[in-house]
Amino acid sequence: MSSWIIAFAAAAAVAVPAIATAWVQSRIGSAGAGAMSEKPELRSAVLVMLAIPETMVILGFVVAVLILLGGGTK
């Protein structure tokens, strides 16, 4: 497989989830900040909810590594 396709696939594997994560976290972050201003005791729940979508980009990074390390060998 051409190396540029492998590189593009790896980049897309990180970029797409990163954009999705950023979008979701911006929504959760703004809503969470509003909720915390009303109820400061919600901070732990907000923190956890804010951390949940980052799994997408982390797994995207892992997939990118797998593509780069495994791509072009077959």
Partner: protein, 628 residues
């Protein structure tokens, strides 16, 4: 662990309730609770002295406000000069302190304003002083300073025309730049026409520089000298004011603290009456205290209150667990890790305290991600430097947690052969476990294996918790779930030939039986739980992802240092990138390790909903006169 609590009832004759409450407040080991439903005693609903409560609240509030405005008094501050809060002259004495403080505040505000004014005018006068205005012989001059915005410099031409129309050629107009935005203009006119010129400037909206009265009516050079002299005096004046404020604090702060504490204690005692119960002849106080303190409390009550007042303790029923306050107690070396629970609600009474697990896994995950001996050693050195400056218990506990994480980073750095990335390899350092840069896939497998172990421990704790509560079906389901994860992990390791275990039909049958048991015992949610657990284990891939990103950044820094010319620029870039990596290396692993605890691990067993135990006690003494 969560300390075992006891239900306590203090009984005695009704007339002795105030005495008993004062005793309990002094002891400070009983959290008062409202009357339980089945008690024969009914809550005290007698008339409350609202006026007295308002008076005490006002005294406490007034004293605390004054204390907040005063600096910390020295530890050996003088004896309290204020009268008792019950004395009629107390209010007048506090008013005198307040007036003294206001006078000091007013003096300070005036000095600060004068300081700012002097600095501002000094700049203007410095710019204008070198100008030499002249109106020719025989004319008595009047100089006027003006400020003009530089973006409206055309105003100068207009002004000149208007002045010429007003006073003919008998004026002098010179200007200099003050800063990027302002021009300083020095206008000299005959004194006889100064009034008309001032009116013109006012009508045209041009700012005339009016020096403060003490510098007016003198030449600019003299005004500049006077401003310089005053600027040198002002810091000493401000220091004198600070000394006066400190002296006032030393004189009155201890007695204000005592007054606030006295008023708050009496207010708490007055409000505590509402939590007590009474019958026709007796009072009863209900509360919670750690079981181990019951004997000491009963003994102290017998000594202080004598016969007639009894302290009785009862075990807590499981149905009451929801309302029992929580006290955490762990060995000294684990106690700092209780801080990590501050971001989540306390565990419910009667459930598991996860502090010990946090103390093991939080530093482990941190070290696994950072995994660099150099960064770990820098963090340890920084902690050693700031150790003596850590004063509060929270700071000291945070330092212990940070030290554990730094040691973990050093240990994993040695395992991975990393010292500021690949710099260690150039110095002869070899990985003892694996080279993360070259073995990304095995590192991913190790991360997932650790995740599987962590999640299995969480599920096993959940099973134990369910069994302890007598929920056998739930316990069986969770145990099957944990065994299924262990079996699946072993099978996976066998498939990739990490362990000598070939997949076989009987193994698949056992795993199938475990899955069936988990689903049957857990119901429809059991199936969902199985899928979620697989997702939770996959989430531990972040340990590998963040770790790999960290080591790649460190290697990039070293690469730049070695290849960029000139060498000094390369080293500077390398140092900057290492600093960035170190900073990210403190934040990312912390967030990652905390998230894995809170989301993936706690989800399996943690039951939040506890509230901290708050005993009825005297207000705490203010140590070292901290602002309150």
């Amino acid at each position: 662990m969560i300390v075992e609590m006891a239900k306590v009832e203090v009984l005695g004759p009704r007339r002795r309730l105030p005495e008993a409450l004062a005793f309990l407040q002094r002891e400070g080991v009983l959290e008062l609770r409202a009357a339980p439903g089945r008690s024969p005693a009914h809550p005290i609903t007698g008339p409350r002295d609202d006026a007295e409560e308002r008076r005490l609240a006002a005294i406490a509030d007034g004293a605390r406000r004054l204390l907040a405005a005063l600096p910390a008094p020295p530890a050996d501050a003088a004896a309290p000069p204020l009268p008792s809060i019950d004395a009629p002259e107390y209010a007048a004495a506090v008013d005198r302190v307040r007036d003294e403080l206001r006078a000091l505040d007013a003096k300070q505000a005036a000095l600060v304003e004068e300081s700012e004014t002097a600095a501002r005018y000094r700049r203007l006068v410095s710019a204008l002083a070198p100008l030499k205005p002249s109106l020719g012989p025989g004319v008595e001059p009047q100089t006027i300073g003006l400020l003009l915005r530089r973006d409206r410099a055309d105003t100068l031409g207009l002004l000149e025309r208007e002045l010429r129309a007003l006073v003919g050629d008998g004026f002098d107009l010179q200007w200099r730049e003050i800063d990027a935005d302002l021009l300083g203009v020095l206008l000299t006119v005959p004194r006889a026409q100064a009034g008309a010129v001032a009116s013109l400037l006012f009508e045209r909206g041009i700012d005339e520089i009016k020096l403060p009265p003490r510098y007016a009516n003198q030449s600019l050079v003299r005004a500049l000298l006077a401003l310089d002299a005053r600027a040198r005096e002002l810091p000493a004046d401000l220091r004198r004011l600070d000394e006066e404020r400190a002296a006032l604090a030393a004189r009155v702060a201890p007695s204000l603290q005592a007054a606030a504490r006295d008023a708050e204690a009496r207010l708490d005692a007055a409000r505590a009456v509402a939590s007590c119960g009474e019958t026709a002849h007796a009072f009863v106080v209900w509360g919670w205290t750690p079981r181990e303190r019951v004997a000491a409390l009963a003994g102290a009550a017998a000594r202080a209150l004598g016969p007639g007042v009894e302290v009785m303790a009862f075990p807590v029923e499981p149905s009451e667990y929801g309302e029992v306050p929580v006290v955490l107690r762990n060995p000294r070396f684990l106690r700092p890790f209780e801080l990590l629970l501050a971001l989540v609600p306390l565990p419910r009474y009667g459930t598991i305290d996860p502090t010990a697990a946090l103390a093991i896994f939080f530093p482990l995950f941190f070290g696994l991600v950072l995994g660099d001996a150099g960064f770990g050693l820098i963090a340890l050195a920084a902690l050693a430097l700031v150790r003596r400056r850590l004063r509060t218990p929270v700071q000291q506990q945070l330092a212990v947690v940070a030290a554990a994480c730094a040691v973990s980073a050093v240990v994993f750095g040695v395992f991975f052969g990393e010292l500021f990335g690949s710099l260690g390899a150039h110095l002869g350092m070899r990985p003892l476990l694996m080279d993360r840069r070259a073995m990304a896939i095995p590192f991913l497998m190790v991360s997932l294996a650790i995740g599987a172990g962590h999640v299995v421990i969480g599920i096993a704790l959940g099973a134990w918790e369910a069994a302890r509560r007598g929920h056998v079906r739930e316990a069986v389901g969770r145990a099957a779930h944990a065994l299924l994860l262990v079996g699946a992990a072993l099978l996976g390791a066998g498939v990739v030939r990490w362990i000598p275990l070939a997949p076989s039909t009987w193994m698949l049958a056992v795993l199938g039986a475990l899955a069936l048991t988990a689903v049957v015992a857990g119901g429809p949610l059991g199936l969902l739980e199985l899928v979620l657990s697989a997702g939770h284990v996959l989430s531990y891939a972040r340990l590998m992802a963040l770790g790999l990103a960290s080591v790649m950044l460190a290697d990039l820094a070293n690469h730049l240092g070695a290849t960029v010319k000139p060498a000094a620029l390369g080293w500077a870039l390398a140092l900057l990138l290492h600093a960035v990596n170190f900073t990210l290396g403190l934040i990312s692993p912390t967030v990652c390790a905390l998230r894995l605890q809170y989301v993936e691990f706690f989800d399996k067993f943690y039951q939040a909903g506890g509230r901290a135990w708050r005993p009825f006690a005297l207000p705490p003494l203010q140590q070292g006169g901290a602002h309150v």
